[in-house]
Every structure is written in C-alpha cells, then in structure tokens.
Symmetry: C2
Subunit: 298 residues, 2 copies
C-alpha cells in the first residue's frame, strides 16, 4: 500500500506492508498556492513512491473529512475546499483510495502497531499547533455519521473562554487552551514577541518558576480534557502523540493529577495515559491502513 500524510508544510508518502513496515519513503514540500498544484504534488508523491506496485492508496489530511463524498472540510491553510479527494485520486490512479483525517489515521496506526495495540477502547490526542483526535471504540475506528467524529480538540473546557483558532468559531476549546499554540502564547506573554513554546519548555526544564507554572497550567487544562474523555469513553488507554507531546513529564504529570481528580471510578482507576510510540510516521502508516481498508471495501 501507499500511505500519504499531507501536512501543512510537507507531504510524506511511503510504501507500507501489512505489518506496518515503511519500505520506501518520499518527502516533498506541500504546495499551497492553489488546489491544482496541491493535487499535483500529492499525485507526484504517490508516483515517486511507486504507484504501479501497489493495490490501493490512503491519504491522511489535516482536515475534518466528510466520508459521504470523501472530501476535506474546513481546511484552513490548505486549499482543499471544493474537491472530492477520494474520487479525484481513485480515477487518477485507477486504484481504490481511502481518505481520512490525519489524527484518525495516526490513531489507527498507534492502535494497530503502537501504544494501543491489544486494546479495544483507545482515545488518541495529537498535540501540535492544534489538537487532533482519534477514537478506537469497540475495536474499530469510530467515524460518526458522516466521518467527522473525533474532533477532540474542539471540546469546550472553558464555556466563557477565549476564541478558538483557525476557522473555528467556538470559544474555550481544548485546542486553543492546551496546544503548542497555547504554549507559544504563554511564551510570548513571558518573554515578549519572540518567545516560543520551545523556549518555554527549555526554561521549565531548567526549573524557572514562571515557565513551570505556565506549562503546568496548560497541562492541567489538558488534564481536564483528558478526564472528560475518560468519563465519556471509559477507555483502556489514552495515547498522547504529536510534536508537543514530546515535552513529556512536564506535561504528563500535571495532566495526570487533574485526571485523578476529575475522572470517575472505575474509569479513572483503570485507564492508562501513555505517550505514542510511532513518532512522526504514525500518520503515514495510518494512511496505509486506510488504503488496506479501501481495498477490502472495493
């Protein structure tokens, strides 16, 4: 299979076998000038990996997906508004094509090959500039009525809170209060316009009180969100992935404290909160799993 992970800055494509091994990979920048260029870039990445050798293609996109027509909805920085990606690529490649939200794809990969293997009920959060989510419920990827489920960054944790980011019209969402972007905002407040989340984390690791407090506040908000998911899903495991999750215990420890307070028995006592295992290949491998699914459905 070929899996493609479309990101805001780069396209990562790979040849993946049934065991999740990435046999070959190709990377190129994401063309964002127009939809036509973006579609060319995606097709070019698939060709570069070797389209003629595979039976199906899966594409993970950083957007909500409407599975009714296989389109990307509410893309912010990526010009994908008005096209059915699934039919476009299916006819272009003459292969079965699956489209999936990138965090859903990553969840599928972590569940099949990574931190969640062997479980039947898993919640995954991908922490980056936004917060993505994926759900494995009763042993299957949960997609909801039209494929738009698991927008886990867009739960309200502060009902009178600040506006969410991007195209989101909501307020006080987890994404705006506990993502890498929230860490950037905290860093700007502490260190001026050039402050970054990396700097905040570095200073917190060095023990700077204000940095520890700012990161701890963010982590506790993350914990409120995780606790809500624990009470909603009674999952066996919550997997935290994405670049910002690499902050590690500075983030995890305060989050776990809040979960212990907020989560109900027996869910709170039985859940494990763990880091993802597949790193930044999760999206690619997950997209390939979506390709396997498209093949089985074809």
């Amino acid at each position: 299979m070929i899996g493609v992970d479309l990101g805001g800055t780069k396209i990562l494509a790979g040849l993946v076998d049934r065991e999740g091994n990435v046999l070959r990979r190709h990377e190129r920048p994401t063309p964002t000038a127009s939809q036509a260029e973006l579609l060319e870039g995606l097709a070019g990445a698939v060709d570069a990996v070797g389209r003629r050798e595979v039976a199906a293609v899966g594409v993970g996109v950083p957007s909500t997906v409407d599975q009714r027509d296989g389109s990307a909805v509410a893309s912010v920085n990526i010009p994908l508004a008005d096209v059915s990606l699934r039919s476009h690529f299916a006819s272009r490649f003459d292969l079965p094509v699956g489209i999936e939200n990138d965090a859903n794809a990553a969840a599928l990969a972590e569940w099949t090959f990574g931190a969640g293997r062997g479980t039947r009920h898993m919640v995954m959060l991908t922490l980056g500039t936004g917060i993505g989510g994926g759900l494995i419920l009763d042993g299957r990827l949960y997609r909801g009525a039209v494929g738009a489920a698991a927008e886990l960054g867009h739960i309200v944790i502060d009902h009178d809170g600040i506006p969410c980011q991007g195209a989101c019209t909501g307020r006080g969402h987890l994404e705006v209060l506990a993502s890498g972007t929230a860490a950037d905002a905290a860093a700007t407040e502490l260190y001026g316009p050039s402050g970054t989340s990396e700097q905040l984390v570095e200073r917190a690791r060095a023990g700077e009180t204000a940095a520890v407090a700012a990161l701890g506040g963010l982590a506790r908000r993350l914990g409120s969100g995780i606790a809500s998911f624990v009470n909603i899903f009674n999952p066996e495991i919550v997997v935290l992935g994405g670049g910002f999750a690499s902050v590690g215990e500075l983030l995890f420890a305060p989050a776990r404290e809040v979960v212990a307070r907020e989560a109900r028995p027996p869910s709170g006592e039985t859940v494990r909160i763990v880091p993802a295992e597949l790193g930044n290949e999760a999206g690619l491998v997950g997209a390939a799993l979506v390709a396997f699914e498209a093949l089985d459905a074809a």
Copy 2:
C-alpha cells in the same frame, strides 16, 4: 421481560414485550435504610409484576455500572456499594439478569422505540437533579472497557469551576452547571432559600428578565456540553430527556444557539437536537431491553 427502573425515591417495575409495550406495571418507594432492604424491595417489585411469566430481568440503576461483576459503583444516595447486583438477582430469580446504568437504559429505549429510532449514532442526555448520558455508536449501546462509559454529565466545561456534586471530586462539570440542581441554585440566588427550579422556570415563562437570563445562562452552558458531544461523536441526533428537559424551548433555544457557534462542520449542520419521546417510562423499557440482551447472551 421485566424491566426495573431503580430511582432515588421510587422503584418502577414493568412487564414489557418485544415491541416495547408496558403490559403491567408496579411502583413502590425505594427503601434506602440498608442494602438488605433495598435488595428486598427490588425483588419484591419483580415478584409483584410476575416473575414466573418472564424469561429474564433487567435492572437500571442510578449509578455507574462495572460490568465486570455487574455491580453499581459510586452510588450516592442508594446503598448499593458492595454487591454484585447481577449475580445476586440471577441466583435469587434463577433467570438471566442484566444490570445497566439508568441513563444508558433510557438511551437504549429512546433509540429502539423513541426519538432516536432509525439512527446509528445517538447521544442522549437525561437532565434531572444530575445529568446522565447514554451513547448509541455504530448501532450499539456503547459501554466502554468495563461498562462505565457515557458519564456525560461529568465532562469539564469550566476547568477552574465550582466543585461537582454528590461524591464527584471534579470541578466545573456539566452536571453541576446545567442540571436541575443548577437551576435550583440559580433560583435560590434570585428568590432566597425557598427558591426552586420550578419557580425559576415559571417566572422565566412569564417573562421575568432575571429568570430568563439565569435560565439562558444555564442553557448556554448545556449548549457548550452538547456542542462538545457533537464535535466528538458526529451524531445524527442528540436526545434530551429527564424531568428538567420538559422546560422545553426556554432551554433548547439558547442551547442550540451555542451549538451553532461551537460545533464544527459538517457535524454541526447535520445534527438534530430533539426532546425524548418516551417520558418517564424510558428507563423501565430500557431495562427490559437489557433483559432481552441478557437472555440472548445466556
């Protein structure tokens, strides 16, 4: 089947057929002095309905349920802490017995015979002194890893909020901010110690500005919670039941406004938010459906 709906003040038991018709019913006060008396009361209610005519019994309880041993967890006003209800009644009645959280049971009933019939993805909230929840996902009641899922009143909508109620150690949960108890609290604030939610609703219906504002604030917090569920589940339908839902449009209209702002496309545009249809027999009928399930599993 016999379905039993165990409430904090009364036990409602009924003989129910496969079409959800309640053929006979029996009601008695809930004995809360001791666990032994409560178990006697439940057994007495089943006998009164006619235990010898049925093939299985289902019991809905106002507690989180641990399906590993069929016990009720975290009961507040009901002495059920240390007993496997399922094995107790299965051996006492010599019949298959199913135990389920009462809101899960109500959701099963509304999905099978009420407001949610024909859907595959349904979120139900029961609004009363607390907020219960039930989930139908991919055409099945979702229970989570050990049966404790769908504690939908215990999501955090205000991460620095007021303490939750009962035995819950959390803060800013939907239940404490948008239930009938929250309405009672608002009424007490407006009208003094004797103020009640009924009075608040009555005054709001009569157009009293302060009452409309207080109820509207509560409804908007409810809307934040509903919107979170819409973004999480991409459900076809959200069903609002329980006594406090009878407030109707004074509650629904502001909640829908907030959902329109908070919910992401396409989930927000495709979901319907509707009142429950089965009234206070939902729990009873749902418990009977759980009995059918216990029979099928036996």
